[in-house]
Amino acid sequence: MPRKTMVEAIRDAMDVMMGRDDNVVAFGEDVGFFGGVFRATQGLQAKYGKSRCFDAPINESGIVGAAVGMAAYGLRPCVEIQFADYMYPAYDQIVSEAARLRYRSNGQFTCPLVVRMPTGGGISGGQTHSQSPEALFTHVAGLKTVVPSNPSDAKGLLIAAIEDPDPVIFLEPKRLYNGPFDGHHDRPITPWSKHELGEVPDGHYVVPLGKAIVRRQGAALTVLAYGTMVYVGTAAVAETGVDAEIIDLRTLLPLDLETIQASVRKTGRCVIIHEATRTSGFGAELSALVQETCFYHLETPIRRVTGWDTPYPHAQEWDYFPGPARVGRALLETMEQ
């Protein structure tokens, strides 16, 4: 099976869907002629023409606003916001229009729209290129929020997102574009070409939205992670020797609560990890759900390891980023309690 980077897998998903459905269009800043700053749409304009893949002005609210209109008209736009950090001007269009169109019109209009955004840190991007705003989307009724952690999932999830009848926020951990990243920033990277999850099937396939996957079976503790933190958690487990079960959520909303419950009820311990700031982060929702549904199985308090409640710092990136040392300490403390 061919191995691809996550960027190539995402491009492949759009290529497959644009080939199958003339209603699928891709646009955004530098998306057309240049092929996107991360090259996710490279070659799509040449293949499908300027009416299917094109550049947009530097106006995120305009990009999403136009896409909402297209989706209501019957197209299936898959738009790119160049960095999730640039999303804020479009937030009103996402929240007030895309997320509510079906409800507000009593189902007469729908919004089958995908908004792709590179997310997260680990690239020396500072506070304007490293944020993880997933909780701003999971808090909004009417949106679905997806965070893939590898090329194989990224393609199948993006195809599922494009085929979905409702708006989907597709957050791409940019530090994973070229290979898995376990938080050891001072070590050489492993490219996807040398990782089994870089194997991406040809053609059309779907990874269903709302289904998590157990990346590592374990009996002592459950780690809930998504995106880059799946690999940080895996490294922390290997370095501490804790027999943890690692769950890659893949979709934050709708959430696969059944998989989480089955694991926590087995292990009795839960550590939640994410890059985003701590307060009102998605980890808080996960913690509440685990407490509400697994309380009588818990042997220790649920722990969160997250980014600090500061803007994402440039100079102290690796003191901010919840790396394997911090995650490992939380695993050991949870086991020793």
Binding site: S124, W308, D309, P311, H314, D319
Partner: protein, 45 residues
């Protein structure tokens, strides 16, 4: 190139003088609220 060297002569991110981890928690607010103070303590600084 000349302009870049001129700029780099004033220091780069990798040229030392890195701010402390403690500084990361400063200037988020005029006065540090309790939750951020707790997080700074958890960071060990």
């Amino acid at each position: 190139m000349t302009a870049q060297k001129e700029a780099e002569s004033h220091g780069t991110l990798h040229a030392g003088g890195k701010p402390s981890v403690r500084d990361m928690f400063e200037d988020v607010y005029a006065e540090m609220p309790p939750h951020l103070r707790r997080q700074r303590q958890q960071a060990g600084v």
